[in-house]
Symmetry: C2
Subunit: 210 residues, 2 copies
DNA sequence: TTTCAGATACGTCTTTTAGCGTAGTGAGAG
DNA sequence: CTCTCACTACGCTAAAAGACGTATCTGAAA
């Protein structure tokens, strides 16, 4: 298996190279100190796995990964970063990275990450994974639509679709005045000051699917 | 460490119990064949980790986990399911589960999951993790906000917060008329007919976080 | 049976938004 | 040095929404 290390810290590259060279799975190791050098040598090296730093002078890890995956979708990119902030990991995942390791990981974790991505799986440091999961669950929390009547939910749904009160009235065979009243009650019950907040409420409470 | 197994398959419980009993980390093992029995015995047993099936007669795994975490937020619930569909894992994550194992996992993975959740981390079977990641990246794809200028994005964000044009003008030190114009341009560019559709657009394109 | 809540409907008034103009300024591109 | 584009700003008018009211009908609960 051919590995490419992209990182602007000479010492870090050397240490990692030493550790990897001792692993029998590894055939050859290439390195580059930034994304541009990496992309220049990509055609030549054809690596299986890339260990990619994110913060680098020149093309950063996210841009570099995007370019790499666009050309060779099968290359497994694993992000290697000092920090695990949300923008980093979502950026790298969107760019097509299959794993994300923090630099305080043990070498054992690096090996585990590499074997997982080679098997077509993903691997993330526990801290990153916790972040991803928090992100996933924080969206869905508050669901207490019990205060709205079914008619009001129906009206709210149509508001979210972008219909005017008149159109909703036509849809539901009501008079516009009635829809006005429903709308007013929805604003009251959802403690919204206007349409925008009402729509946000509806989406938050899963009364309208985006 | 005390473990509680909640699963409606007698044989599965027995096998798992046997494997766990051989692990020195485990002090005691409780079991229940559905969520209701589990919740009845929760106060008595005070488990550290719960291995929870999702499909069960009576209270299912998601409802049971919600009830459990509400009462004892520190209990680590690990979902154990035959299938890894999106509703299952998002449901369990929202309910407060810290891990998700497919039933074709090796016992080694169960041990790994238990040690991870006890350390405050999450653990997911590779298949689940891939699903979560796919989920994470698919949301961001529909993000072509390039058509909106940064000022317009700013205005849209404030609209979503429920501010009136006058309030936005005050916030951003603009005249109300200017905000009017921005709003009009946002409606045009996002092909929205009114505020509601504009807010939906903003949320869909991650210009506003719910 | 009475009571109550929800759905229905209407009136009036003010505020806000929408849609149509026009136009000056400053930064960056050609 | 122009040209373009984003941002700024203003006027006018119509439509929609918001905030008050009131009132009838129906079905479920007390």
């Amino acid at each position: 298996m051919k590995i490419f290390i992209v990182d602007d810290h000479q010492l870090f590259r050397e240490g990692l190279k030493f550790l990897l060279s001792d692993w029998d799975l590894v055939e050859s190791i290439y390195e580059a100190e930034n994304g541009d050098y990496f992309l220049e040598n990509l055609d030549l090296c054809q690596p299986d796995v890339v260990l990619m730093d994110i913060e680098m002078p020149g093309a950063n890890g996210i841009e570099t990964t995007t370019a790499c995956i666009e050309k060779y979708p099968d290359i497994k990119v694993i992000a290697l970063s000092m920090y695990g902030n949300e923008n980093y990991y979502t950026g790298m995942i969107d760019a097509g990275a299959k794993g994300f390791l923090l630099k305080n990981s043990r070498f054992e974790d690096v090996q585990r990450a590499i074997t997982e991505v080679l098997n077509g799986n993903n691997y993330f440091s526990p801290e990153i994974l916790n972040g991803i999961v928090r992100n996933l669950s924080k969206k869905k929390n508050s669901s207490k639509n019990s205060e709205l009547t079914s008619r009001e939910i129906e009206v709210l749904y149509n508001i979210c679709k972008g219909l005017s009160n008149q159109e909703i009235a036509n849809n539901l065979n009501l008079s516009k005045r009635t829809v006005d009243k429903h709308r007013e009650n929805i604003l009251l019950k959802t403690q919204s000051g206007n349409t925008a907040q009402m729509v946000v409420y509806a989406i938050k409470n899963k009364l309208f699917e985006i």
